[in-house]
Symmetry: C2
């Protein structure tokens, strides 16, 4: 039994690799909800959807988010009547947001996610880290921005001064996450190659989640989202720099050093492995195709199995 | 200056004909809101949308409702994740419902409708009869059904025992309607060929609307939605029968007899004209194309201009 912590696109790829090599009952993907927001009256959960669509084999391969082959009639019509179009919502993707918003009136986010996964044929558990409201807010040189305002509307242009995780202090971990953490067969925990500040930190900011991780009896391994000083996708490098951390796999290792037992860096960064403050694995972490995802998943699991328990 | 009362498809066709022969400042189309409902968390206003789309030249010519060339990706995806699909919502059409629902948090339905009409290039005034909540409820042999439950989900199959117009008693007429009614240049009022029970009655059930019509100083003309004992579209004939009224143009004239000054029946029903309880015009009321709409509009306006004021 493995728990994988994931944000959006990069994390979803490794989660998909893990799903390819582990039976459904042996993997729980725990997903960030700090990116979630309300838009056009709808509850939008970008990371949950990306993981769900990726594991369902429905993700748009060129963007990583959204649905493959989705159309944009809704957006075109919305523009015509003067609506807000800065956040793209495909026609099929809209069904997820509309139905989730409706179901949330009587269900938890965990239950809604489970329902959708079942309908989409996702057999591995995909669970929000919390059913409570946690919202990443970005302090920037242009003022306080809600996460999607910063990330999508402003395309990460403002300089980040800090991040605030609204609601994290009082949020509870989801029951499904706690169930997986307490599973007697749990063998390892993996931080997927997601943005440490935007995807992993919002989960760790929930006291119960952090406490569970600190009390764990299995190895915790993180995979670097920074390769050769750059993020594969998204603003991980830019934010790492703006927050004053070294923009390298080592900089990421450093962020996690009090928590993790092992760190996976890319073959490009092999020379950093010896100076990392924890055991390392050098592997091909860039996932260009399903086979890369599986290979990385297998390498990470094998690495974790060799690590001392904390 | 003309006021036209309209429900959905049939009414929208005559409203479109009137818009073709009258300058924008000379026509106000007052639209039923009794069919409006909340579905999937969205406010849906079928009659307003049908009138708006028809006047914008965007209506689906084969159904009469919805947008021409609209696609069904949203519905297909909604079905896949287990959502309710009995009420069809096209991908482009969705933009109207999502944006309206959002705007209604800070605007009246009249303001939202005006905004959308401006964006869609509709220059004639389209106004909801009321900004308040009025909901047609159908008492049937299978129990009480909300209007769209009866009309769309059950396809008008249950036998109608009566109609209840929830909220009508306390609803106020919209300001734009009152403004048009009080316009010094008002020349006539037209009931478009809409269902008298489902489209016109819910408007008349608003005390202020009925009082305005009773106090009018201009002729009020109704166009029969029943031709040769049948409705052109929809359940007008079935409901007329189930409620115990004669299923004929004359039956409709009878319903309106205390209110209207003139009645327009189809050439098929010419033999009924002499026995109608008010002045009549025999005209081609079936509107198969834009030219039919214009011709009927012109005939109705000419007829109204010849009638005595009440």
């Amino acid at each position: 039994m493995i728990i994988a912590f994931s944000g959006g696109v990069g994390g979803a790829k490794l989660a998909d690799g893990l799903a390819a090599v582990l039976a459904p009952e042996l993997l729980t993907v725990v997903v960030n909800v700090g990116d979630d927001f309300e838009h056009l009256g709808l509850r939008i959960c970008p990371d949950l959807d990306t993981v769900m669509y990726t594991l369902a084999g429905l993700a748009n391969p060129s963007t990583g988010w959204g649905l493959a082959g989705d159309t944009a009639s809704f957006m075109a019509a919305l523009e015509r009547i003067g609506g807000e179009t800065w956040f793209h919502l495909g026609d099929r993707d809209m069904a997820t947001h509309v139905e989730r918003t409706r179901l949330l009136a009587g269900m938890s986010l965990s239950e809604v996610t489970e329902t959708f996964c079942r309908r989409l044929g996702v057999r591995h558990a995909v669970v929000p880290v919390s059913d409570d409201r946690v919202r990443t807010t970005v302090r920037t040189d242009e003022g306080l921005l809600s996460f999607q305002d910063y990330f999508v509307r402003r395309r990460c242009a403002p300089r980040v001064l800090g991040l605030t995780l609204e609601g994290a202090d009082s949020a509870r971990a989801s029951e499904r996450f706690l169930h997986a953490m307490n599973h007697p067969q749990l063998k390892a925990i993996v931080f997927c190659p997601s943005n440490p500040h935007l995807s992993i930190a919002p989960m760790l900011a929930i006291p119960q989640v952090r406490a569970c991780l600190q009390a764990r009896r299995v190895p915790l391994v993180a995979v670097s989202p920074i390769i050769d000083g750059n993020a594969v996708k998204g603003p991980a490098a830019k934010i790492q720099k703006e927050l004053g951390f070294p923009v390298s796999a080592l900089g990421v290792a450093d962020l996690y050093k009090d928590l993790i037992d092992g760190f996976v860096l890319d073959v490009c960064d092999a020379e950093l492995a010896p100076i990392a403050p924890m055991p390392t694995l050098v592997a091909q972490t860039l996932m260009r195709n399903p086979s890369d995802r599986r290979n990385l998943a297998e390498a990470v699991l094998e690495f974790a199995s060799r690590l001392r328990k904390p």
